[in-house]
Each structure stands twice: as structure tokens, then as C-alpha cells.
């Protein structure tokens, strides 16, 4: 029987990393203790979406994933999406729409929207709702988040295809 040592290797926001872990540790706990605090702990049971990260480009709950499951994969957190000084378009639109109240849900919302924008070519409401169905917000009533997202998507749809490809490959180095 091949026992694994208690380390895990994966690409985190474009950089190859090795972390010591325990078989029981959730990816969310590992990320937060390693200083990636943008990913939030909300419910810890796969309902709220505050812990959403991308695993090989797909939105995933880090609270339901053992860190060991990320071996060899590409993990991206909110830290890869934008910074305070250089926010992403969606982050700018969220601020402009007044869609951030307590803000706890926002990193997860941004990561789900990132998966959407990088995966789907046609951004109709139905498909947008599907990608956002696992993120709860307890403050805003969603309307302003929806407005901000729709504006971001409409802007992306209007942008020339080349610029779109360039911006979507940002941070997804494997």
C-alpha cells in the first residue's frame, strides 16, 4: 500500500507550492493558515459559498475539499482576482453599484463569476444564474450584485475577442 507523506503539492495562484498538511485538513483551513485570508469560512458545510475557490478552473467549496484532494491541481483564490489598488472589472462594478455591505460573500461571488467568464462564451441570464447558484448573500438582497455582474458581463461581451482571451488567461498559469 502506497502511503502518502503528509504534504500536498499544487499550483496556487500560478505558483508551484508544497504545504505540510494532515489527511483531515480542509483546503479552506490550509489556505487561511497560510495567509490566504480572502477565502472566507461561512457555514463550513457547502451551502453559503464564502469559501469558493477555483480548482482547475472550476468553482469549488474549499470547506468541502480535503487539502490532499488538490494534489497536482491548480488552485486559485480571490487573491488572484484583483487587488485593492488594481481591482478586477467585476470588483469595480460591485463597488460602483453599492453591492458590498458586510462584504463577507464577495470573494466567493467574484470567484464564481470568474469561472463563469472564463468558461462560457454565451452569457445569458440562465447560465449566469447557474454559475452563481451556490453563493448566498445575507445583506444585499442580490439585486445590486446582479446589476454589477450584468454590467461586467455586458462589457466583456462588447470587448473584442482578443482582449477577452488575454484578460481571461490572467492568473491561470499552470
Amino acid at each position: 500500500m502506497t502511503k502518502t507523506d503528509h504534504t500536498v503539492n499544487f499550483t496556487l495562484n500560478g505558483e508551484k507550492k508544497t504545504f505540510a498538511t494532515r489527511p483531515d485538513e480542509k483546503l479552506l483551513a490550509l489556505l487561511r493558515r497560510e495567509g490566504y485570508r480572502g477565502t472566507k469560512y461561512g457555514c463550513g458545510q457547502g451551502t453559503c459559498g464564502a469559501c469558493t475557490v477555483l480548482l482547475d478552473g472550476r468553482a469549488t467549496y474549499a470547506c468541502l475539499l480535503y487539502a490532499m484532494q488538490a494534489e497536482g491541481r491548480a488552485v486559485r483564490t480571490i487573491e488572484s482576482a484583483g487587488t485593492f489598488d488594481n481591482p478586477s472589472e467585476f470588483q469595480k462594478q460591485l463597488v460602483a453599484a453599492g453591492a458590498v455591505q458586510c462584504g463577507y460573500c464577495i470573494p466567493g461571488m467574484v470567484m464564481s463569476a470568474t469561472a463563469l467568464m472564463e468558461t462560457e462564451a454565451v452569457l445569458e441570464d440562465e447560465i449566469v444564474k447557474e454559475y452563481m447558484d451556490g453563493n448566498l448573500c445575507r445583506c444585499t438582497g442580490y439585486e445590486k450584485i446582479w446589476v454589477a455582474l450584468r454590467k461586467t458581463l455586458d462589457k466583456q461581451a462588447a470587448a473584442p475577442a482578443r482582449a477577452r482571451r488575454k484578460s481571461s488567461s490572467k492568473g491561470s498559469k499552470k
Binding site: 502506497t2 502511503k3 483531515d24 458545510q45 457547502g46 480535503y66 464564481s112 447557474e130 447558484d133
Partner: protein, 281 residues
């Protein structure tokens, strides 16, 4: 469930060997989403089965073959001739859960709310089990009681085979919930075979709202040989009470759940008939 070790076997044979050695101290891990919620005082070794080439969907003769470790999101996205699995997958939990949780994880250990066993019972699917070599069995036998019984010796579910629907077959599923991502109150799936306007055969199954997913034989009997009409569907749905033991909960009475089941059966049958007629031409 507490994990004491985490291993990544290189092959199916190696995974089975490890699980056999570990006995009750080992547990296959697919998406791992259910493992977090399983009680168990003694820690187990997780045996990761997601790196063994078990994630795929392909059409092979009269069947769609779905690898056991295929995420629900992939099944939802897949399109094949007369494919009907996407609707129910879209209704399971959230985008983030569907990206990770697998068809095998949903049916290897059946939780009361699981939706896929219902659909697979109605569709007359076959389940492929690896015990050194692969062997398949019909859904009726597989779901006759908790399937986890089949995997205690280290065997693994490797694939699910779903019959490709023929031109005169139709399928419909309904999942009644309180909100879009909630667990099901009642899930119904129906497969109808029509000839002219007549129902040649019917398979109707239910889950949630009853102790364990099962077929609704009295409902099926009320359909066979009859005209595929709303009146007949309504009459068949009324047999739901005799077909299973409906249970209430969360403030809902058993009688309410039964009524919900009747409405859902009618709805599923209408959808199945529409599927059969609409795509038969």
C-alpha cells in the same frame, strides 16, 4: 468522518487491494463531499479513486456509459441523442457541489435525499461493479437495499450504464423542493414506452419523502395498456398512496407529502409522454 491517512492508488486493482487490506478502516473517496457529513468515531484511510480514469461519458452501442467518478456537472453538460440525465443533475445542490461530487458517490451509499437512484431505477440502468473483474447488475437489484452492502469487501463501482432511449420512449423527472438548491421533498422519475397513443410499458420511481428510493409498482400497473392521456396519468398518480409509505417532516404531514408526490407523478408522466411524442417523429 475523520481521516487518518490519505492514499492515491495507481490502479483500480491497487485501490481494491488497499481497501481489502484496510477493511472497515478504509473508505473510497470520490468527490469527498459526503464524507464530511458521515458520522464515524474511528478515523479511516481515504482511498482516492478520482485518478484512475473513471471520469468519462461515452455512447457504446445501446448504452451511455458514465464512469463512476464523473462529476455531476459533466453529466449536466453532456449532450447525446435523446439524452435525459442533464435535467436532474442541474437540480442537484449548487454549481460548486456539482463540479466535485460524482455519480458514484451519489449512488454507492444512498442517502435518503439522493436524486440519482430514482432516475436510474426508472431508466432501468445497469451498475458496473469491479471485484477483480467487472460485472454489471440491473438497477432493481442494485437498489433493492443500501448498495453500500456491495462495497464492504473492497469492491468498487466503476460505471453506470444508461440505455439510450428509443424513438417511442420518453422520460420525465420532477424534483419538488422548497427552494432551487434545497434537498428534495419528493423526487419522481418516469419512463414511458408508447405505441400509437397507448402505453406499452412504464417504469415510475420515487425518492425522498419515503424511507428509500423505490419503484411505484401500483402506479406502473395503472398505466400499462392504457391510453397516454392526462385522465389516465391522474388515475395512476392516485395509486401513489398504496405504492409507498410516505413520511412527513419539517412541519409537513405525511398526507401533504403524498399529495405532493401525486402532483409530481402527474407532471413527470406528462413530461415523459411529451418527450416520447415530441422526439418520436
Amino acid at each position: 468522518m475523520k481521516l487518518s491517512e490519505f492514499i492515491r492508488p495507481a490502479s483500480l486493482a491497487e485501490a481494491r487491494k488497499s481497501l481489502r487490506q484496510l477493511g472497515p478502516k478504509g473508505m473510497p473517496l470520490a468527490g469527498g463531499t459526503a464524507l464530511h457529513f458521515m458520522p464515524g468515531k474511528t478515523p479511516v484511510t481515504a482511498v482516492d479513486i478520482t485518478r484512475l480514469g473513471l471520469s468519462y461519458i461515452k455512447q457504446k452501442g445501446d448504452f451511455f456509459v458514465i464512469g463512476a467518478a464523473t462529476p455531476l456537472a459533466d453529466i449536466q453538460r453532456y449532450r447525446g441523442p435523446r439524452w435525459a440525465m442533464h435535467e436532474i443533475c442541474r437540480r442537484i445542490s449548487t454549481h460548486q457541489v456539482r463540479n466535485v461530487s460524482t455519480i458514484g458517490g451519489n449512488i454507492a451509499r444512498v442517502f435518503p435525499w439522493a436524486d440519482l437512484p430514482v432516475v436510474l431505477l426508472a431508466m432501468d440502468a445497469r451498475l458496473v461493479i469491479y471485484s477483480g473483474k467487472e460485472k454489471d447488475m440491473p438497477a432493481d437489484e442494485y437498489f433493492s437495499s443500501q448498495p453500500a452492502r456491495l462495497f464492504r469487501g473492497g469492491d468498487l463501482l466503476t460505471a453506470v450504464k444508461i440505455p439510450v432511449l428509443k424513438a417511442h420512449h420518453g422520460f420525465g423527472s420532477v424534483k419538488a423542493t422548497r427552494n432551487a438548491t434545497a434537498f428534495s421533498l419528493v423526487t419522481i422519475a418516469a419512463l414511458l414506452e408508447l405505441k400509437g397513443g397507448i402505453i406499452k410499458s412504464a417504469r415510475v420511481a420515487a425518492g425522498s419523502g419515503i424511507p428509500f428510493p423505490q419503484r411505484l409498482k401500483p402506479v406502473e400497473a395503472a398505466l400499462a395498456g392504457k391510453e397516454a392521456s392526462t385522465a389516465v396519468f391522474r388515475e395512476a398518480a392516485a395509486a401513489a398512496g398504496a405504492a409507498a409509505r410516505w413520511v412527513g417532516g419539517e412541519g409537513m404531514s405525511a398526507d401533504y407529502i403524498r399529495q405532493l408526490a401525486e402532483v409530481s407523478i402527474l407532471d413527470a408522466l406528462e413530461r415523459a409522454a411529451e418527450f416520447a411524442r415530441g422526439r418520436a417523429a
